[in-house]
């Protein structure tokens, strides 16, 4: 029997191994990284019976072709994407069991920008400083700190799962309420600067130069203050910075740890998964909320996820094949 792995037959545009990030090293200049849409990664993990922070695959805009080298329970979440398993449609937002040797073929994301693939047991790469997340800027974590290449092998944990044929569950999770990609994205925003009001009144478009570090926005320029190139101070994902060209940047999962640009405020953490799904050219609006309200949104999102996790666990148990059984 061959080692339990996933073989990358053809790499996608930007496939990276991600978990919920690498806290604890920011004082040394190493940021959090982790999934851009951690909500979708966590749901994918729950669907295969993993802990929420297990490592999965983040697929960006167009996906890879993969071969499972062991029987696996998998789940696909995040952006809706063209996906086939051995030539048949691969349904998302539900657990699916597949025998060893199956081929997963991903095309383009239909809406949104990032899809997540979880595998039972998680992608078993060696953690770096406590996390398996790929930090592309620091070039560490995941698979040698880089995106997947064709020919790569991703190690899996051994599993006693038996799967004679491809079998998807009849039930699924409806993400519509939590991750609605059909409507224009609204980022609830805590204003902290005189220009924040103008930021909230103007429409913004996502630039093609955006990446895991930040969403670069384009629109009618905000008047950046003279001498605004300030003293470097710590920053965090969600912070909206204003460089001298007046085009704001929303810092995302792979944000640097310090920055010198003026800060206009921050996006509520609960809305980061939604704006992580924005594609170049799509629009974004900011809606002012209080700091208190932003924390309340985060708590409500977590409570919803906890309820969902309980429901999923009950379903997995009733299917009679929880991991390891």
């Amino acid at each position: 029997m061959s080692a339990p792995r996933i073989e990358v037959l053809r790499a996608g545009l930007l496939d990276t191994v991600q978990d919920l990030g690498r806290p604890g090293w920011r004082a040394l200049g190493l940021g959090l990284a982790g999934a851009m849409d951690p909500w979708s990664l966590e749901v994918a993990n729950r669907l295969v019976g993993n802990p929420p922070g297990a490592a999965g695959l983040e697929i960006t805009l167009a996906g890879p072709r993969l071969r499972l080298r062991r029987a696996a329970r998998i789940a696909l979440t995040g952006a809706p994407i063209e996906a086939l398993i051995d030539g048949a449609a691969l349904p998302a937002w539900r657990p699916l069991e597949a025998p060893a040797g199956c081929t997963l073929e991903f095309g383009a994301c239909r809406h949104g920008a990032r899809s997540y693939l979880a595998v039972d047991g998680g992608l078993a790469l060696e953690p770096v400083l406590g996390s398996r997340a790929t930090d592309l800027r620091a070039a560490l974590g995941g698979l040698d700190g880089r995106a997947l290449h064709s020919g790569d092998l991703l190690p899996l944990t051994p599993s006693r799962l038996r799967a004679e044929a491809i079998r998807a569950s009849a039930w699924w999770i409806d993400p519509g309420h939590d991750l609605d990609l059909s409507r224009t994205a609204v980022a609830r925003f805590v204003p902290q600067h005189a220009l924040a009001d103008a930021l909230c009144r103007r429409p913004w478009r996502v630039s093609a130069t955006s990446n895991r570090q930040g969403l670069r926005l384009q629109g009618s320029a905000l008047a950046a203050e003279a001498g605004g190139d300030g003293v470097s101070e710590p920053v965090a994902p969600g912070v909206v910075q204003l460089p001298p060209d007046g085009q704001p940047i929303v810092l995302m999962a792979e944000a640097q740890t310090v920055g010198g640009y003026p800060r206009l405020g921050y996006v509520a953490q609960a809305d980061l998964p939604r704006i992580a799904q924005l594609r170049p050219g799509e629009h974004l609006h900011f809606e002012p909320v209080s700091a208190e309200r932003a924390v309340a949104l985060l708590r409500a999102q977590r409570a919803g996820l906890a309820r969902m996790a309980l429901a999923i666990d009950a379903r997995l148990r009733s299917m009679g094949h929880a991991p390891g059984s």
């Binding site: 004082a27 003293v231 470097s232 700091a291 999102q301």
Partner: protein
């Protein structure tokens, strides 16, 4: 500006003690970080110094589950800040020595920089190596130190066109700052030398050679010593 606490995100706070680059303000930041670290409550993930600010990152899951509220941490920070004036002086910082091979292939900008500043190459090395530097913060890249204490006579503008590839360990001057590139990459600083030490290695404990608040000295070495240290690192 009087010290105050603002929110950096739903799960992080920023305590500002000032709004300029100033050794005394930065020393206050490190004294505060040391004090907070001595009795760190559960649920604090990171304390991150800036030049004149200190960020406190909370465990975002604890905030989301209602176990921790940024408001409570804000009160704790303000209390500690108030105590700082009466606290005993912070312990003397650790001094890290960085061996540097100046000039030649390791520091291709040394001679033109010296000519521009009206100094000899030996004088630039002498002044750069004589500095008492303080690591104000780490950032930009893992292990990259922002240093205070460059001799103002050595300040020089950056290159008009940045280099596409600066070797790891290169020591440069950019404006009124001096620093060390932790790894190979593009860069616009004037390169005067190079250290064989690895500034950041995730397999090492601790992974960064330098910590925020450290004192730092550059020690000139010959190219033979550079080659020897480079082999054994």
């Amino acid at each position: 500006m009087s010290p105050h606490v603002v929110q950096l995100s739903d799960t992080a706070l920023l305590l500002r003690v000032g709004d300029r680059i100033d050794a005394a303000l930065n020393a206050q930041v490190h004294a505060l970080a040391t004090r907070l670290r001595e009795a760190l409550p559960a649920g604090i993930e990171d304390l991150v110094p800036g030049y004149a600010s200190l960020a406190v990152f909370l465990d975002s899951r604890a905030v989301a589950e209602g176990l921790l509220h940024p408001r409570d941490v804000s009160g704790w920070l303000e209390w500690n800040l108030a105590q700082l004036d009466t606290a005993v002086a912070a312990p003397a910082p650790r001094t890290v020595e960085i061996p540097v091979c100046y000039g030649g292939t390791h520091g291709p900008d040394l001679d033109p920089l010296a000519a521009e500043l009206g100094l000899s190459a030996a004088e630039v090395i002498e002044r750069h190596g004589a500095g008492d530097y303080r690591v104000a913060l780490l950032g930009f890249a893992p292990g990259f130190p922002y240093l205070l204490g460059l001799d103002p006579a050595l300040a020089a503008p950056r290159l008009a066109t940045p280099r596409a590839r600066v070797p790891a360990g290169s020591v440069g001057i950019g404006g009124a700052q001096t620093g060390i590139y932790p790894r190979e990459g593009p860069g616009g600083w004037r390169l005067i030398g190079r250290t064989p030490l690895r500034l950041f290695d995730p397999r090492r404990d601790p992974p960064a050679l330098i910590a925020p608040g450290d004192a730092l000295r550059f020690v000139p070495i010959e190219s033979a010593r550079f080659a020897e240290l480079d082999r054994t690192r």
